[in-house]
């Protein structure tokens, strides 16, 4: 329980730190936010009143305090572009992004497990080497380019799936595949390495001597120990996955947070940019917290202290 409380407090500290960074970014903006909000034809008096309304005439600590106070109440400010509350827009876009991220993660885990296990018995052979170089090549390709290739071949030439957009399961297939394949091959490599280590251990030799078949040996006996460290990696990798989400959503016209951030950047809509950055950081912190707790649940050797 003490551990749980400490871990939660820690996540909160990190979140507080992220708000400080996002707040700092707003202050690097060269333009005057009040001028942007008031519009190009506003006179000095209007700009001054907008500045007062936005609290920009107060001291920096006061402004940061106000920013935090509003955040705590779910107020992320209003979009410069359409005057909508940023929080509402984010909430509307979140389900699409969550769907894509979870599907991408699922694809990554499946690829990681399947490729990782299948490549274990062939370790050191040419098959293994081909898989390794192939994986490195896929990992080296920009995710948005993989997306466009997939759209061209699978969507346009073979007409198997829709060319972008969201709504049905068929819309989800390509974006999830493209998003998950890189992480999946990375997990597969880690699992492969871990399996090599675990397969040398005595308990595996004992199981083999007892006549446990190869399939059961890999999937039940070895996998449990080899896959555990992967959990931590998946948590750490989640930030990278969110990067992929931004690019994948742009390629597939997926109406999520990534597209929102992209559109906001084009419109220089600072509150929306800050909101999306803060939300994604929040997602990363939450995922890492969840993974950490899960790890301790799954591995009985680690006690919750």
């Amino acid at each position: 329980m003490r551990y749980l409380a400490g871990r939660l407090a820690w996540a909160l500290v990190i979140l507080l730190g992220t708000t400080f960074i996002t707040f700092a970014i707003v202050f690097v903006v060269p333009g005057d936010p009040a001028r942007v909000v008031a519009g190009p034809r506003a006179d000095a008096a209007t700009i001054a009143s907008v500045r007062h309304e936005l609290g920009l005439d107060r001291s920096l600590p006061a402004q940061y305090g106000r920013y935090l106070w509003r955040l705590a109440h779910g107020d992320l400010g209003r979009s410069y572009a359409n005057r909508q509350p940023v929080a509402t827009t984010l909430a509307r876009r979140l389900p699409a992004t969550a769907t894509l991220a979870v599907a991408g993660l699922a694809v990554a885990i499946v690829i990681g497990l399947v490729v990782g296990i299948l490549s274990a018995p062939v370790a050191g052979t040419w098959v293994d080497r081909t898989v390794l170089v192939g994986s490195l090549a896929v990992l080296s390709a920009p995710v948005f380019w993989l997306g466009m290739l997939a759209l061209y071949w699978i969507g346009f030439r073979w007409r198997l799936v829709p060319l972008g957009g969201a709504g049905t399961f068929r819309h989800l297939i390509l974006p999830a595949l493209v998003l998950g394949i890189g992480s999946g091959l990375y997990y597969a490599r880690l699992l492969h390495t871990n399996l090599q280590g675990v397969l040398r251990l005595d308990y595996i030799r004992a199981a083999r001597a007892r006549g446990v078949g190869p399939f059961r040996l890999y999937t039940v006996h070895a996998l449990r120990n080899a896959a555990l460290p992967l959990l931590t990696v998946i948590g750490l990798d989640f930030a990278a996955l969110m990067n992929g989400v931004v690019l994948t959503e742009t390629v597939f016209h997926w109406p999520g947070i990534g597209r929102l951030a992209f559109d906001a950047v084009l419109a220089l809509d600072v509150p929306v940019i800050m909101g999306t950055v803060l939300l994604s950081a929040g997602l990363v912190v939450t995922t890492n917290l969840a993974v950490d707790l899960l790890y301790r649940l799954v591995d009985p050797r680690i006690t919750l202290r």
Partner: protein, 271 residues
């Protein structure tokens, strides 16, 4: 080092050398002006064929020429951003690991906070508020990529700090600066080489991503990422427009990934 690793390393180094060569002489080899419309019909992209060996884009520009010019800028952004990343990460990692205590706590907590941000989104936000230019891109990519470097360097420094030769240097009256630069840093260097290769592949990809989102190195400079972005409207009618610059990015990133992988100690088990 196993033979297999050595093979991958050699292959990666050869690819990297090819890339550097391309970046140096590429622009001179380009058959056409990369920014001027040179195709006979300007309205639509034309497929690969003489004299435009990789085709032309929707503005009638020669893809091969743009690709060759893009090599220099893409490699330069990748390498300079990597240097920025390495300098920030190494400095913070050395300081945290060597001084320990409060310095370590503050720096590593800050690193944890930065790790929570998806690098691309943070970079997008920073570039958006700072306005894109080559220098902005260098600095921004460095600012969002140093966390991994700092963590690794801190870890190595922590163990080096207590080693006899460091203690001896201290006993002989060497200052912190001298110990860090003359005794600790050289011992971290082999690790730094591996991370440098790895982070170059990261910075090239990040730069391509920023360009793809339309906020990379501003036009008219042809960058591979921007070429892919410009091709995205025509990917059905002119797939060659996206195919070649994508392959170019893949080649560059793969070169550095192979070098990093080849250099990694098998015993450490890093993929």
């Amino acid at each position: 080092m196993t033979a297999r690793r050595r093979g991958l390393l050699r292959f990666g180094l050869a690819m990297g050398a090819g890339l550097v060569l391309l970046a140096v002489v590429g622009p001179a080899l380009a058959p056409f002006d990369p920014t001027a419309p040179v195709a006979p019909q300007l309205a639509e992209p034309s497929p690969p064929g003489a004299p435009f060996w990789l085709g032309t884009d929707d503005l009638g520009r020669d893809v091969l020429s743009r690709l060759l010019h893009g090599a220099r800028i893409s490699l330069m952004v990748g390498l300079v951003a990597m240097l920025v990343t390495m300098v920030i990460g190494t400095a913070l990692g050395l300081a945290a690991g060597y001084f320990g205590g409060v310095v370590d706590v503050i720096l590593m907590r800050f690193t944890d906070v930065m790790l929570a941000f998806p690098g691309l989104l943070l970079a997008v936000a920073l570039v958006a508020v700072l306005r894109p230019s080559v220098w902005t891109i260098f600095v921004v990519i460095g600012l969002v990529s140093w966390t991994g470097v700092a963590r690794v360097v801190r870890g190595e420094t922590l163990s080096l700090r207590e080693r006899d030769f460091v203690l001896a240097a201290r006993a002989m009256g060497a200052g912190h600066g001298r110990i860090l630069l003359r005794h600790v840093l050289p011992n971290v260097a082999p690790t730094l080489v591996v991370i440098a290769a790895l982070s170059t592949s990261g910075t090239i990809l990040l730069d391509a991503g920023l360009s793809f989102l339309g906020i990379g190195v501003p036009p008219p400079t042809p960058t591979w990422g921007r070429m892919i972005q410009e091709a995205s409207t025509y990917y059905r009618v002119a797939p060659w427009l996206m195919a070649f610059p994508g392959l170019a990015v893949l080649y560059a990133v793969l070169a550095f990934n192979l070098i990093a992988y080849g250099l990694t100690d098998e015993a450490k088990g890093t993929p």
